[in-house]
C-alpha cells in the first residue's frame, strides 16, 4: 500500500517537473518571438561561437571515423553478393539520415550540455541568477534564450560538417582502400540521396539542438545547493539529453518515413 502511494507521489512529481520544463521551454520560445533585446542577441552570437564553432573539429573527426568504419563493416557483405559498387548508397544514407545527426547531437550533448549545466548551475548556486531577477532582468531571456537559439542554429551546420566528413571517410575507405570504383560509388550514392533524405537529417538536428540546450539550461536553473548540486545537475542533464535524443530520433524516424511513404508511395528501396 505504502509503496503504491510512494510510486504515485513519484509519478506526480515527475509530471510536475515535466510541466515545469514545458513552461520553461515555452518562455524561452516566447522571448525569441517577442525579441529578447540587444544583450541577448550579442550573447547568442557569442554562444554560437562557443557552442558551434568550437565543436566543429570534434564532430568532423568522429564523423570521418564512423564513415570509414561503416565501409569496413559493409564491404564484405556487399562483396559476398557481388554488389560492391553499391556500397556508397548504404553508407551515405546511413550517415546523412541517422549517424550524422545523432552522433553530432550526442557529441554536442557531451561537449556542450555538460558545460552549460555546470555554468548555469554555478550561477544558480552563487546567486547570480537571483541577482539577475533582483535587477529586473529575466534570467531566461539573458541566459537560457541565447544558448537555446545558438544550439538550434548551429546544429544543422555541425550536422553538415559531420555528414561531409562521414561521406569522405566512407569514400576514402571504400574507394581508396577497398578498391570500389569511385564513379559507381558516387552514382549510387547520388541516386539514394534525394532532397527529402538530406533534409530529414537536418530537420532532426533542429529538434536535437532544442532538446540539448533546453534540458541543459533547465537542469542548470534548477540546480541543488553546493558543488554536489552542480555535479548532480550535470549528470542528470547528460542522461536526460541522451535519452531524449535517442527517443526523439526513433519517433521522428517513424514520422518522417510515414510522410515519405505518403509523398512517394512507389519509391523503392535504396537498391531500386
Amino acid at each position: 500500500m505504502k509503496s503504491i502511494a510512494r510510486l504515485g507521489a513519484k509519478g506526480l512529481y515527475w509530471l510536475e517537473s515535466l510541466g515545469d520544463y514545458g513552461r520553461f521551454v515555452l518562455s524561452i520560445v516566447g522571448w525569441i518571438v517577442r525579441g529578447p533585446g540587444k544583450l541577448a542577441r550579442q550573447q547568442t552570437l557569442l554562444q554560437m561561437f562557443e557552442i558551434g564553432v568550437l565543436s566543429i573539429p570534434v564532430v568532423m573527426i568522429t564523423g570521418a571515423f564512423i564513415g570509414a568504419v561503416l565501409a569496413i563493416e559493409a564491404h564484405p557483405q556487399f562483396r559476398a553478393i557481388g554488389m560492391e559498387s553499391r556500397i556508397g548508397s548504404v553508407i551515405n544514407v546511413s550517415v546523412v539520415k541517422q549517424i550524422g545527426p545523432v552522433l553530432t547531437a550526442i557529441m554536442l550533448a557531451g561537449r556542450v550540455g555538460g558545460a552549460l549545466t555546470a555554468e548555469l548551475g554555478t550561477m544558480r548556486v552563487t546567486e547570480q541568477i537571483d541577482a539577475l531577477r533582483a535587477m529586473a532582468s529575466d534570467p531566461i531571456r539573458i541566459l537560457a534564450m541565447p544558448r537555446f537559439a545558438a544550439c538550434i542554429l548551429m546544429m544543422p551546420a555541425l550536422t553538415a560538417a559531420s555528414d561531409a566528413l562521414g561521406m569522405f571517410g566512407g569514400w576514402f575507405m571504400s574507394v581508396q582502400m577497398l578498391g570500389v570504383d569511385s564513379h559507381a560509388y558516387w552514382e549510387y550514392s547520388r541516386a539514394a540521396l534525394d532532397v527529402f533524405t538530406i533534409n530529414n537529417g537536418f530537420l532532426k538536428s533542429l529538434f536535437f539542438g532544442a532538446a540539448i540546450a533546453s534540458i541543459a539550461c533547465y537542469k542548470g536553473f534548477n540546480c541543488g545547493p553546493g558543488a554536489k548540486g552542480v555535479g548532480k545537475a550535470c549528470t542528470e542533464a547528460f542522461v536526460s539529453s541522451f535519452v531524449a535524443i535517442l527517443v526523439m530520433n526513433f519517433f521522428l524516424a517513424m514520422l518522417l518515413n510515414a510522410i515519405y511513404q505518403i509523398i512517394w508511395p512507389n519509391a523503392g528501396s535504396i537498391f531500386g
Binding site: 533585446g37 540587444k38 544583450l39 550561477m123 552563487t126 546567486e127 547570480q128 537571483d130 541577482a131 531577477r133 533582483a134 535587477m135 529586473a136 532582468s137 529575466d138
Partner: protein
C-alpha cells in the same frame, strides 16, 4: 504607484510605510526560518536588522524583493501588495530596488565594469559614454576607481563586496537592501562604506535596510535597529534603546558575549577528557 481602494487617504492616519511586512512566515521543509515577522520601514528610513547566524536575515531580504515567496504573510511596497506577484509584474518594482547580496553575486563572466553597467544597459537609454561615466563614478564611491577591466575572480573578497555594492546602487534606487555590507572589509574600508550608506540615505533619500553582524556599523548607520532571533523580532528600537536594552539575548548579542552553555562545547579539559577516553577505549 497604484492607489487601491483599500488604501486610506493620506490624511486619515499615519502615512503608508515605504515597505510593510505583515506576519511573514517562511519555512524550508521542516525548518521554520521566519515565524511571524511584521516590520514597517518608513520612507528615507535606515533600518538595521541584526541577529544570530541562520535566523533568516538574508531570507527576509529575499522575501522583500520576491526572490523567495512567503508561506504566509504579506509584503507591501508603497501600499501595493507585491509578495504574490510573478516575476514579470515585479520588474517595475524591482527596478526601484538595489540589492547587495551577501556573497556579492557578481556575474563572473563579465568584467567589473560590465557588471555595474549591466542594469544601466538593460533598463536605461543612456549612451555608452554616459554609462561609462556612471560606472566610473560608482566605482569611485566604493573606492575602486580604475578597476573596470578586472574580472571578479581577480578581486579579493572585500573588493567583490564593494563592486557588488556599486552595482546595487548603479540605477540610483529608492530602496537599497544591504546584506552584510561591511563583512570582510578592513575597519577603515568598513567605515567608508558606513559613510556611503549614510550619505545615500541622507543626501539621496534612499530607504535602506541593512543586515549586519557588525555592531559598529549597526549603531552608525541605523535610525532603527531590529533584532531577529528564532524567526521572530525580539527587539526593536533606536540605537540608544537597543544599546541599553534589558533583554538578555539582545544585550549579549550587542556586547558579543557567549553564554556559558555556548562555550561548553569548546572547554579544553573536556576536549582532553574525550580524547583520553577515546584512547583508552582503543586499547
Amino acid at each position: 504607484m497604484s492607489n487601491g481602494p483599500q488604501q486610506l487617504p493620506a490624511s486619515a492616519g499615519p502615512p503608508e510605510p515605504h515597505i510593510r511586512m505583515v506576519n511573514l512566515h517562511k519555512r524550508f521543509g521542516s525548518l521554520v526560518v521566519l515565524d511571524g515577522v511584521s516590520l514597517n520601514v518608513a520612507e528615507r528610513e535606515s533600518m538595521v536588522v541584526i541577529g544570530p547566524s541562520g535566523t533568516g536575515k538574508s531570507v527576509l531580504l529575499k522575501l522583500i524583493v520576491g526572490l523567495l515567496q512567503p508561506d504566509s504573510g504579506e509584503v507591501y511596497f508603497h501600499g501595493q501588495r507585491i509578495d504574490h506577484l510573478p516575476d514579470r509584474e515585479l520588474e517595475p518594482v524591482r527596478i526601484r530596488f538595489g540589492v547587495l547580496f551577501q556573497m556579492g553575486a557578481l556575474f563572473d563572466s563579465m568584467t567589473v565594469g560590465e557588471n555595474i553597467a549591466f542594469p544601466l544597459r538593460e533598463h536605461t537609454k543612456y549612451k555608452p559614454s554616459e554609462i561609462r561615466d556612471i560606472v566610473a563614478q560608482k566605482l569611485r564611491m566604493v573606492g575602486l576607481e580604475n578597476t573596470e577591466q578586472k574580472m571578479p575572480a581577480e578581486l579579493s573578497g572585500g573588493m567583490k563586496k564593494r563592486v557588488a555594492l556599486a552595482r546595487a546602487i548603479a540605477m540610483d534606487p529608492e530602496v537599497v537592501l544591504y546584506d552584510e555590507p561591511t563583512t570582510g572589509l578592513d575597519p577603515i574600508r568598513a567605515d567608508v562604506i558606513n559613510e556611503l550608506i549614510l550619505k545615500l540615505n541622507e543626501e539621496l533619500h534612499v530607504t535602506s535596510i541593512v543586515v549586519t553582524h557588525d555592531m559598529t556599523s549597526a549603531f552608525k548607520v541605523g535610525d532603527r535597529l531590529v533584532m531577529l532571533s528564532g524567526g521572530k523580532v525580539i527587539a526593536e528600537g533606536t540605537p540608544e534603546q537597543i544599546r541599553c536594552c534589558a533583554h538578555e539575548e539582545v544585550k549579549r548579542f550587542v556586547e558579543g558575549k557567549a553564554t556559558p552553555e555556548e562555550l561548553q562545547a569548546i572547554r579544553l579539559h573536556q576536549v582532553r577528557e574525550i580524547a583520553g577516553e577515546a584512547m583508552f577505549s582503543d586499547l
